[in-house]
Every structure is written in C-alpha cells, then in structure tokens.
Amino acid sequence: MTTQTTPLIPGTATGTALRLDAPISFWGGVNPQTSEITLAGHPQRGTAIAGTILIIPQLIGSSSSSAVMLELSRAGLAPAALILGSRDAILPVGVIVARQMGWPAIPVLVLPDPPFQTGETLSIAHDGRVTNA
C-alpha cells in the first residue's frame, strides 16, 4: 500500500516504523547519547529511536528538541526518517543544521493522522510517497 505524504525535507529511507503511543518532547524525553526514550511514564520508555522511521502523531514540549535532533544526527543515532502528524519546525530545524554541518540529514514528512503502525516496514520515496512492504 502506498500513502502520499508531504515532504518537509525530501529524501529516501527504508526502515521499521516506530509509532509514538504518547506525545513526547525530544528534550527531556530522548537521551541524546543513546536515542532511548527516557520520559517517565511513557509507554515506550527504554525504546531506542535510532534507525527507525519514527511516527510522531502529536508533538509536545520543549523548544530544545532541535538540539537533541542535531546531536542524534552527529552521533549516528538519528531515526531513519520522521513522519509528523502536523507541520512543525523544531525537529526539522535540527535536520537542516545537520545538513549544513555535513552530517547525515534524514527525510521529514508530514501527514495528518498518519496510519503507520509500529513494526511495519516502510519505504520512503523522494516525492513523499510511503510504501508499506
């Protein structure tokens, strides 16, 4: 099945989807050294986001999350791609700065109510189409 999304930062990626079951702020919610979710009480606490196609239906929290995104990029611990439920600048700015610094820059897509579930294998095309293998 193929779903058209809007690419904020176009690119290609393939990976396993990790859908956040509860909203999260990367700052205070993700460890930049390990990429693990650290937020107390979060249902996915302890899960590493590195290499996943991270589905973020709803964003919350701190404006320091761009810095955590950049740090994950430089450390090679970034997700393979982000699919956001709404347009937002905080995480994508971390990706743009990564690109400017010559570090890996991942695709960022937006799709309201993204249908993708944890564990699905997804392929992202440059035009924003997401294929569920």
């Binding site: 919610g29 919350i60 971390g94 570090w103 960022v108």
Partner: protein, 395 residues
C-alpha cells in the same frame, strides 16, 4: 547559513513571507552535546552577529560557580564554549529562562522570535507579543537575520481561542492559591495540546502565578498561547478571545480534575525527601522573599536549590534576602537550573518542588522522583526532611 535556515523553515511551514522581528530569546546556549557548540562556533567565527536585542536562556553552567554542575571537565569546557559563542555573537548574557522578569518585555502586538517554551507562552499570553515556539538554532538564525517566517501565532487570525476551559465552578480560595496555577497549567496543557485555549473564571492572577501557569501548560502540551478572560491583554472578554465565534470545545474544570492533575505531578509517595528544587521558571525576587518569610528562621534539613537569574540575585543582595536564605541552607543556582545540568544530589532520590515544569522533567532528566507541593509545603518539608502536607489548600 542563518538566512537559509529561516527561509527553509518558512518553506517547510508553508509561510509565504518573512517578517521583521524586534527581539529574540535564545534557547540554544544550553549544552546538549558537542554538535550545537560546533554549529554556534562556526556561526560566530564566520562573523555572524545578532541584529536585534537577544537575551540568552540558561546554559549548562553556573558561571559564578562552574563546579556546581557535576559535568566532566570536557563537558564543562564545551558548555562554557557554547555560552561564550553566544556572547561573541552579541547576545545579551541574561542566562535566565524568565527574561521577561529581567527587563526583556516585548510590547503588545510586537513580532518577536523567542525560544524556551515557558518564555514563549509568557510573552504571547501575558504581554500579548507574537511569537511561535522557536527551537534551538532557528532562534539564533532569526536574531542574526532579524527575520522570522510569517506563520502560526505571528498571524492574528491564528491567535483565536478554540477551547474554552471554565474554572468558575472551583472554590474561590483555591483560585487564589499560588500552587493552583502550575496545576491548572499542567491540566490546560493536557487538555489543549496545540489548540489555543481560553480560561474563564479566574478572578485575578499575579505575574508569578501566570508565569507558573504558562510553564506548566508549555511542559505538558505544545501550548504557546493561553487566553485568560479579563486578565490577559487579548482576552478582555469572551467574545474577543474567541474571535466572536462559539468555542469548538468546552471543558468545565472540577475540583477532582485539579486534584488528579496535582497527584499526577508526583512520582513518589509522601515520605522522606532528599532535596527541594525551586525556580522553574527562575524564581522572582517576590518568590524568594516569600520563601524567606515562610521559613521563619527555621533552617532546612535537606538541600534547597533556588534557580534564579543574576538580576534577581542583585535584588536579593540589596536587602539581605540572599544572606537570610543562605543561612537557612539555600543553595543558589544562577545562569542554569537543576533539571538541565547535574546539580541535584548524585544519588537519585526524591525531589520536592512547587513547579509543574520541574515535576514534569525531573525524572527523565535527573533520575530524581518529583513530589509536587505548595511553596509552604516545600518549606515545612525541607525543615523536617519528609513531606508535610497542608491539605486544606486543595479542599
């Protein structure tokens, strides 16, 4: 580089124009790892300088007492380099998350580009300035270019409230209690998420109460603007804040909802505590004086940290409040705060606080389990070493 960041962001957000901004508050001076330091030093070395007044948020070090943070020598050096890169770019070294209480107060309807979620919520809500939530790097890019993408809360039509939160059914004495405001903030953040809410039924609020409400709401939700009928400048009345349309959703807050939210801010049962952390957002002079008055000369048995800006330290020194608090056992934390850098006791324990923001972030960032209480409860608990409750407040 900075104009590319601003223009790319505008494109991603679907903004068709940039606007001129009047000031910025820079969140990017807090060390999260070497990547941000390298980026800011690259900007500074290429000659980038801010073109609008730009205050700095907290760094990872108390520059007056750098050993206070238990960072490795290498991390301390990088944290310091990051703070200095911002000074080199011409930022005003305010090192506070409450710059609006240190003289940086945007005017009504003024377009600004601020970072730090509580400060964003405060200037939109309390001052009626216009900003989105600017993250690290975009904030400095806007300050250097003097421009921001014209979208979101910069546009008057997006500032309309759509969710009505009615607190008029709550007891009048609860509505005046300082500790009610961070709890209402946390509840508002959870109810509203990213929707602009309108709170109706609050009789009055001090600036410090609004500060704690905004900080709570911006921690539990992505809130950047809260209207409060009769109190905030864009909500003189219902109809104005709602844009003369009916609310899309309405919630009547019950005492149970307040108690449940309050309880959700504690992750440890009442018992022994290891520390008390105050000042998220940074404590004001009035809050410090209130603490001194509540303590009534009785010293603290556990470490009590007050996070605050140097502007407040100067005011406290002027009338001896600083000495009075230090004599009780208070440890002052300037330029930074205890949930962004390791200052709390090394062994994770129980940290009591009157801040919804500290309660929200403490466990993930420090490993300490928060217990939420009123300032009076924090004081009596610090004096006895275990949680002492003042139950009447919440009835």
């Amino acid at each position: 580089m900075t104009m590319e960041i601003v223009v790319e962001t505008a494109r991603m957000l679907g903004a068709d124009a940039l606007i001129e901004i009047h000031s910025s508050h820079i969140d990017g001076c807090l060390y999260h790892g070497d990547s941000g330091v390298l980026f800011c030093e690259k900007l500074a070395s290429e000659g980038a300088r801010v073109v609008v007044p730009a205050t700095t948020n907290v760094g990872a070090l108390n520059l007056l007492k750098p050993d206070q943070s238990r960072l490795s020598p290498d991390q301390r050096k990088m944290a310091y380099r990051l703070m200095m890169a911002h000074e080199q770019m011409g930022c005003t070294p305010s090192w506070t998350c409450a710059p609006y209480q240190a003289g940086a107060r945007p005017a009504l309807h003024q377009q600004v580009a601020w970072g730090e979620s509580n400060a964003v919520a405060f200037v939109n809500t309390v001052l009626g300035a216009r900003t989105n939530r600017y993250g690290d790097f975009l904030d400095i890019a806007c300050a250097i270019t003097g421009r921001a993408p014209y979208y979101g809360l910069h546009k008057p039509e997006n500032r309309r409230a759509k969710l009505l939160i009615d607190v008029s059914a709550l007891p009048a004495c609860l509505l005046r209690e300082d500790a009610f405001f961070p709890v209402l903030g946390a509840l508002t953040g959870r109810l509203a998420g990213e929707t602009v809410p309108l709170i109706d039924g609050l009789p009055t609020a001090t600036e410090d109460q609004l500060k704690s409400l905004c900080a709570g709401a911006a921690s539990t939700g992505a809130l950047a603007l809260i209207h409060i009928v009769g109190i905030t400048p864009e909500a003189r009345d219902h109809a104005t804040a709602l844009g003369h349309l009916p609310p899309e959703e309405a919630v009547t807050v019950t005492p149970d909802m307040i108690r449940q939210t309050r309880d959700s801010l504690s992750l440890a049962p009442d018992g022994a505590i290891d520390s008390v952390a105050l000042g998220s957002p940074h404590f004001s002079t009035a809050e410090c004086r209130m603490l001194l008055s509540l303590a009534n000369g009785k010293p603290f048995r556990v470490p009590v940290y007050i996070c605050l800006g140097r502007h407040t330290m100067r005011a406290l020194a002027a009338d001896g409040t600083d000495k009075g608090l230090a004599d009780l056992g208070v440890e002052f934390v300037t330029d930074t705060c205890v949930v962004v850098t390791p200052i709390l006791p090394a062994e994770p324990g129980v940290m009591m606080t009157n801040s919804a923001k500290f309660a929200h972030y403490a466990n993930g960032n420090t490993g300490h389990a928060p217990v939420f209480g009123t300032l009076k409860e924090c004081v009596t608990s610090a004096q006895s070493g275990h949680v002492v409750r003042d139950v009447e407040v919440w009835e």
